[in-house]
Amino acid sequence: MSTLASSSARLEDAAPSWRLRFAAMGLDGVTLLLLPAALFLVALFIYPFLYGFVLSFEPKQGGMFANYARFFSDPFFANTIATTMKIAVPVTILNLALAIPIAFRVRLLRRQRLLTTFLVLPITLGTVLVAEGMLFYFGPQGWFNRSLIALGLISHPVRLVHNYWGVLISLVITGFPFTFLLTLSYITGIDPSLEQAAATLGAKPAARFRHIFWPLLLPGLAITFCLSFVQAYSVFPSAVLVGEPAAATRVISIAAYQSAFEDYDYSMASAIAMIMAATQLVVVLIVFAGRALVYRGPVSSGKG
């Protein structure tokens, strides 16, 4: 209110009336500060996406839809969607299933900082370093297998790297902290007096969760699920380094990368990137449609 008044007051003496009219709409010198950021993102985010979209319809050979036809008819390409889903869906569900109960415990903790600092480590170090460390630690000679043998839980080392499980473990190591911290930030955003009120009225923990937290958390959990899923779905370095990139973990991003940088077929690579984006979008839409089925009501009521 007062900023608008002051800026239009300054403009009043010299500026012609169209400047005033724009200023009244909220468009003045200050709004123009947006331009560099907006133009930059249009040039390097929106434009490449549109460019890639158009390029995907201009294949090296064949008609307009040749890339897409090739993707869905050649199992070498088409199977990457199923392969990626087989990794991303279980990982996302596992991370969320671990994150929700643990976040409910940690919420009551006064000194969360040490724990959250530890959990931020794998996120900051990134998948490449986690994969590098996993190769030895989860390998046949690593401490993990040695400890299990020493404890008598297994008799021979279990194969945990260079296969499906390697990618799964790496995605839990980097994905669980991410899911957990997001969930925690949603849970701590719920007004604690709501739970206290329910407790006063005699609701047991299970009932409090079911009737108070669950409906309030659902929108946040849907977003957390989508973000975690999208991250897992676009797994790349660990699928190459601790996975089996030629077979069990040939995920869709590997196919896109190979098309672009090994076959130099940017048109095909763009088509795969578009398919990747589309499948992610489909899952996100399914999650939000599912949420609407489970819970109808105000999205953000009762938040502190």
């Binding site: 002051s6 200050v30 630690y137």
Partner: protein
């Protein structure tokens, strides 16, 4: 408060899970560090003896001097540019309502929500077509795509909490937008800007996908060089790669520790909270 046995068991099981996760995480990192100092480590709990020579050989083999130079050139360019472009934009978003604001907000949210590898491939294609692919400038531009929106989204709440009367007073005394920024807003916003830029710094050192897709042989950052070293494992000694990984961890963690003095760990991911 009375707690039943089942509740206690449930709580204990959850804490056990957390402990198990953190124990494995620490052991994983400890493995890398131990191995980087090991002379020979095969079939035993601990290496036979310790040495520092892998650090010297890794430094030469992987040209880590050059790689580190490139890394910091990229990182500081990204931090500086993201601040210069992002903070004024955040100010405009926080202070003005204009038609199409929701659309602009969406433009700033999308690069944070869409995973880098998805938009990175078309972006790398465009950069290579314009001749920027494989150059230092290309890597910097690519890394700005997620970091500019990140700065904007972190800064908007910081700016919104400043009393607009302070700016009004400066305007009354005749300050233009530039003077308002340098003499009034910048001093008030310094803690927020510092926090945002430190987070950008940490994220850019660890940003693998975008750098990997746009970097050429002379514009690799440390994390990309590490990927290639692990990818070609068997060519070099494992300990040498581990030494490189330790150097990477050290460069990241130093900045993370500095950043954590100013921000809460949850802020590193909670950007998505504003994404609603």
């Amino acid at each position: 408060m009375n707690r039943s046995l089942a509740e206690r068991l449930w709580a204990a099981a959850l804490w056990l899970l957390v402990a198990f996760f953190i124990l494995n995480l620490i052991a994983l990192i400890a493995t890398v560090i131990t191995s980087s100092f090991a002379t020979r480590w095969l079939g035993t709990w601990f290496p036979a003896a310790f040495t520092t020579r892998w650090y010297f050989s890794a430094w030469d083999e992987f040209q880590l001097g050059d790689v580190l130079t490139v890394t910091f050139e990229v990182v500081f360019a990204v931090v500086g540019l993201a601040g210069l472009i992002g903070v004024p934009a955040a100010y405009a978003m926080a202070r003005r309502d204009f038609p199409g604001k929701k659309l602009v907000m969406l433009l700033f949210l999308l690069p944070l929500l869409v995973p880098p590898i998805t938009y990175g491939i078309p972006m790398a294609t465009v950069l290579y077509r314009t001749g920027l692919g494989g150059t230092l400038a290309g890597v910097i531009l690519a890394n700005l795509v997620p970091t500019v929106p990140f700065v904007i989204l972190v800064m908007i709440p910081f700016i919104e909490q400043i009393d607009p009367r302070i700016e009004a007073a400066a305007r009354v005394f005749g300050a233009g937008t530039l003077r308002l920024f340098t003499y009034v807003l910048l001093p008030i916003l310094t803690p927020g800007i510092l926090a945002a830029l430190l987070l950008v710094l940490v994220r850019t050192i660890g940003m693998f996908e975008l750098t990997f897709l746009t970097a050429g042989p002379t514009s690799q950052t440390l994390v990309v060089a590490l990927y290639y070293a692990v990818f070609a494992a068997g060519v070099r000694a494992v300990q040498s790669i581990d030494a490189m990984a330790v150097i990477y961890m050290a460069t990241t963690l130093v900045w993370l520790l500095i950043a954590l003095r100013f921000v809460n760990p949850t802020q590193i991911v909670a950007r998505a909270k504003q994404a609603r």
